[in-house]
Amino acid sequence: MPDSPDPTGSRRDAAVRALADVPRTPGAPKPDPILVADSVTRRFGGLTAVDVEHVEIQRGAITALIGPNGAGKTTFFNLLTGFDIPDSGSWLFNGKDLAGIPAYKVARLGMIRTFQLTKALSKMTVLENMRLGATGQQGERLLASMFGFLWGAQEKGITSKADELLKRFNMHGKRDDFAGEMSGGQRKLLEMARALMTDPEMVMLDEPMAGVNPALTQSLLEHIKNLREEGMTVLFVEHDMDMVRDISDWVIVMAQGKVIAEGPPDEVMRDEAVIVAYLGGHHDKALTSTGVSFTEEADQ
């Protein structure tokens, strides 16, 4: 549908359309990749935590990275964002090789991450958390810091940007509270809003739903969808399959450090290799109904 009647869904359609002809194989090439990783490996002693031969992330789409515990999803995240150093491999972000680039520079290039264990800075107010996210601040330079007139105007701009984002995330009433006074779910929201202060091109969310109550889950999902509508690329790690199905345009499955399957959410969840990875080769019916839902039937 070139003329989508629903403008909010337009980017989703575009992403789904762009990915429609991509082969459903691990390491499949994408029409417009923002991130391309090649032979990235990370070993902890004898354990190979990550061994990704080739993977591409489509620009402007929401890609989910799923896999059983210990599959190496978070380690892969850490490697891509410069928080950990791989034993080998290279990865290009917007055509720029990021291997060996420190985390803060990766962030400045437009690839921003959040953490599985939320890192809201609890002794700072919500507003200060937000302001900290803004990039290119004059007042963050040592010598300029002492002279308020050098950064006062910029600070006002940053504050109004933070206020707008806080309103969008329904946290404006809490702007002067300490971040540590907020609930776990609100801290997740704050972390995401803070990441948006950097105007990222790609947002990497490490388990955005972990520890979030169902009431907040829905609004978090909407916020993630909105990121795509604003033209950002989202890559997220998640365990909640309903959520993965709901918001992702493409799913990459990892197990034992390798990418074992790729495809649109519904197809991937029917993939034999994926079911085996999650449940083992000899699972019986009883196991599939314990809450981990892979198929449409199990949902009902």
Binding site: A103, R131, E140, R141, F178
Partner: protein, 331 residues
């Protein structure tokens, strides 16, 4: 008991040269530990660099006092880089270990027999402050009497300049920590990975904080050297560093005036208990007079330790701190 005498001793120590020296050093530690979370256990090394820089420049090199001041600042920056480059990328505790070792290395170096001709060995260095006192606009015969204590014109000049430096230091720290730069430091104190993920060069900020705190240490060293018109190596031991930490915690970490309030109270209590115990022994107060004067000098530190323990139990945020802010840590 002569309460007037005890009180005047307390007042003169609360605002004396030692209070200034430890206050300036504490302002530096407050920047490092209070605002950035860096455990610099070698503040005495930075103080030694300051003190010895002016002493050696004047006495051994025969140069101007102010050249010594500049040399001290340069060496301080170099020392901070030397300590920070290998450790600031690692966890906080590595910096603590390296700095405490480095401060002992500095102390043993300046008191060593090998370098006696240069640093003066265990005697230290004397008579180098002439260049500083030449700046004094005060009359030669000026003197000030506070109870039994008489201050001459030199001492008054040191106190004026010293407290001026303390207030200037507080102003600089206040300007810095209220800025976006200070915000990054506070972020690093809580979770440096979060700050890193937002595109800030955490390593650079930690280095800047370490250097600035070290510079305050060096300035404290100048005041110490000038105020005593001498430097001796054994002042720069680890106990000096830990007095500085006691002062920061007492006043309230991450508060601009915390170190100032801390140093005033610390020295008033330390010297006040000393004269109190001594006069109590003199007039034969029961129990207390079981001690002699030497023992009393040690007991006052026990009392201060007890006081700090009680403070930590009932007011862990220090005198100026915010309890609410501290409680958030528990989550």
């Amino acid at each position: 008991m002569d309460w007037g005498y005890i009180l005047s001793v307390m007042v003169t120590s609360a605002f004396g040269v030692e209070a200034i020296v430890f206050g300036l050093a504490a302002i530096g530690v407050n920047m490092q530990f209070g605002y950035t979370g860096l455990l610099n256990f070698g503040q005495s090394a930075f103080m030694a660099v300051g003190g010895y820089a002016v002493a050696v420049t004047v006495v051994e090199l025969g140069l101007n006092f102010w050249i010594g001041v500049v040399i001290g600042l340069v060496v301080t920056v170099l020392l901070a880089l030397l300590l920070g480059v290998p450790t600031l990328r690692l966890r906080a505790d590595y910096l603590a270990i390296v700095t405490i070792a480095a401060s002992e290395i500095v102390r043993l170096l300046v008191r060593s027999v090998t370098f006696k001709d240069f640093f003066g060995g265990s005697d230290g260095q004397q008579s180098f402050a002439g260049g500083f006192f030449a700046m004094s606009p005060l009359a030669q015969d000026l003197s000030l009497r506070i109870g039994p204590v008489v201050l001459n014109n030199r001492q008054i000049f040191v106190l004026i300049v010293g407290w001026g430096l303390v207030l200037l230091g507080c102003l600089v720290v206040w300007l810095m920590v209220r800025s976006p730069w200070g915000r990054v430091l506070k972020g690093i104190r809580e979770d440096e990975d979060a700050v890193r993920s937002l595109g800030k060069n955490v390593y650079l900020y930690k280095m800047q904080s370490l250097i600035i705190g070290g510079l305050f240490g060096a300035i404290a060293g100048y005041v110490y050297a000038v105020g005593n018109e001498a430097v001796s190596p054994d002042f720069f031991g680890t106990d000096t560093t830990f007095f500085v930490y006691a002062i920061v915690i007492l006043g309230g970490a991450a508060r601009v005036f915390g170190p100032v309030l801390g140093t005033v109270i610390f020295w008033a209590v330390i010297q006040g208990t000393d004269v109190f115990l001594r006069s109590a022994i003199d007039i034969g107060v029961p129990v207390i007079s079981l001690m002699n004067g030497t023992q009393a000098a040690v007991v006052r530190f026990m009392l201060v330790g007890l006081g700090i323990m009680l403070l930590m139990i009932f007011r862990p945020q220090g005198i100026l701190g915010d309890r609410k802010e501290l409680a958030l840590d528990a989550r």
